[in-house]
Symmetry: C2
Subunit: 354 residues, 2 copies
DNA sequence: GGTCAGCACTCACTAGAGTGGAGTGCCAGC
DNA sequence: GCTGGCACTCCACTCTAGTGAGTGCTGACC
């Protein structure tokens, strides 16, 4: 199914940037066909495209111009043209229609969110699988940050005579835990006493703003437990500054590329959670929703494009969706899927946190 | 570094199964060399191997015999030999020395476990990375099952007027949660009352054995909350029967194989947690520690071998380690790494759960 | 001036022939 | 039973056309 102009006949005129209408149509046709076939596109294949009612000779001269202007490239002299990163960029900015999911995809999304329940982590994980299925790209889902979520509950559960588990529940429904070891035996009564004091000290504050010192009780042993608990809270606040990342459909990368070497380097990047999370944030910070080729500056991903979509809950950022594919990915589909799933996910999260 | 007989000169004689000593030596040499070079091994390359002090002509006739018996195969008439699955099996069972980590690897393991701390999930995740680094295989780590762990704490934390979070702490330090929605507003007092009753009803039992009905209180509203809590506990018990899986170093698969198609199908398998967990359990259940080629019956992994190692805490099974590589993986190294890391991991888990 | 048919040219891709070499199987002799 | 020798096989590589999809250019046409 080629991406035609149809979607733009109803309303505002197509924005062709600073490219003459026919050249834009030719670029559109080349990009569309190359995305579908992965083969260099010759002038003959373009003449029947909408908006191009000239001979192949004329198309050739236009293509040569597009190449001079940096939108197209030739693998070798007597081959067809393939889009450059700049060509994809123009396509995404000016040519690609808003795109939409096909009915099957829409149904899949509806089904998914109707049946999604339970833990948020599990849902995010499954969401990454859904996105990968919808788009045939590798999907990345970054969970909401708990940085500003207030502490709703603090509990100390004894697991052994000198071992306890600090369990913290945040207002957004996240649960975090940290095991604490003591130098001396601590009984349950003392634990619950200390937990009460910990709660008084931290309830309502986000983890990152728990102060280092809690009020003394006078009881040295209890004070020690409380102090350990405060230290635990603070270390949780630091550790979990990093958002959780869920990657789905990484096998899709092995379909998109035929060079094993490329697959390997992309997978290596995907294994580094911090790199991926930072990358997605960087792209969003630069105001892009698509980063093509070298635009994101991560060298091993030079032959990839990334579609990002912030997920917002009640207007506040709460995670990110990312789709990773070859530069010749189906942008309209990827953008549509990211938007639809991002919206539904945001709704869902806001219901859960209400 | 070839895997020689050296490791077995000190004590019990080598077990060559039902293969004559020289043929076993030849098989050993072929497997070792093929693992190192990935090229079919000719008779000339084998004559210098330990235990083979005959001419290449004799080696050839032995190799022909080994081929007739199914241990070796020839890609084509005038090529060298490569091991069959049966050949690898014999190698693993009778020829490969116990193997050991090199000093660098040992240091890595020590470093890792000296600095491992915090949440168990994070540690398991990182363990998979460590194993992948050590062996250049894809590593799979299955977390301990919480099926039989007793409930240590049950709590209901209000997140909204009609929304609460059920938080359960198990004796092994696992924390599980489930959000519960109510039809009517429930205040904190009622929540904590209900939580107390839930605790009385379930403390000390594993999640899977929580009974469906709790004692009535007489207060209809509280009873409803308690009932919802019981339902939540029971659904947690069902959902989390599945152990958690952590996969590390999936990019190594793209190094091991040069056919993209193979990489794709292996990655697809790795994305299916349930399949992987079941596969590992099946292999352990059949009493194997290595499954080679088609032995495990998962068709897309026919060109892979899997090394498994149960992790036990105080003699009781608590998770599994798996290493996935091509059939020509370095078995002694993989077995050694799995054993060492498995032991240390078991120790670590038993300390934490004490 | 833009468009177009025609033409010469380029160059990846394929098929086929030839060659070198690594490897084999077999056999006669020790 | 082991060995050196020998004929044979067949992959991997190179070289050589031949093919065809595609290009750029040009001169004529509207």
């Amino acid at each position: 199914m080629p991406i035609t102009d149809d979607s733009r006949t109803d309303g505002h005129p197509p924005d062709h940037g600073d490219l003459d209408v026919r050249k834009a149509a030719i670029l559109n046709a080349v990009v569309t066909e190359y995305i579908a076939s992965a083969q260099p596109v010759g002038s003959q294949h373009v003449v029947d495209a909408p908006g191009v009612s000239v001979s192949s000779a004329t198309v050739r001269s236009d293509m040569a111009a597009l190449e001079r202007e940096g939108f197209l490239a030739q693998p070798h002299t007597s081959a067809g043209r393939i889009p450059t990163d700049k060509g994809y960029r123009f396509f995404v900015d000016h040519l690609a229609g808003p795109g939409s999911l096909d009915p099957v995809g829409r149904h899949q999304v509806r089904q998914f969110f109707d049946h999604a329940h339970g833990e948020i982590e599990l849902m995010l994980e499954r969401t990454s699988g859904l996105l990968a299925d919808l788009t045939d790209c590798t999907a990345m889902v970054v969970g909401p940050s708990h940085e500003s979520a207030a502490i709703r509950s603090v509990q100390l559960v004894g697991l052994g005579p000198r071992l306890a588990l600090l369990v913290v529940v945040l207002a957004d429904g996240a649960v975090q835990k940290q095991s604490i070891e003591f130098d001396v035996d601590v009984d349950d009564a003392r634990l619950s006493d200390a937990a009460g004091r910990l709660a008084a000290h931290s309830l309502g504050w986000p983890l990152t703003q728990v102060t280092a010192r809690a009020a003394r009780t006078g009881d040295t042993a209890t004070d020690a437990v409380v102090a350990a608990g405060v230290a635990g809270l603070r270390s949780l606040g630091q550790e979990h500054g990093a958002e959780q990342l869920f990657v789905g459909g990484s096998s899709r990368m092995a379909v998109a590329f035929d060079a094993v070497e490329t697959v390997r380097s992309v997978l290596t990047i995907l294994e580094q959670q911090l790199v991926v999370v930072t990358l997605l944030r960087d792209i969003i910070d630069t105001g892009l929703s698509v980063a093509i080729g070298t635009e994101h500056g991560v060298e091993p991903l030079a032959s990839c494009a990334i579609v990002v979509m912030p997920v917002s809950v009640d207007g506040v950022g709460a995670g990110t969706i990312g789709l990773l594919g070859p530069t010749r990915m189906n942008y309209p589909l990827a953008l549509a899927a990211a938007r639809v799933v991002g919206d539904r996910l945001g709704q869902r999260l806001s219901e859960a946190g209400r």
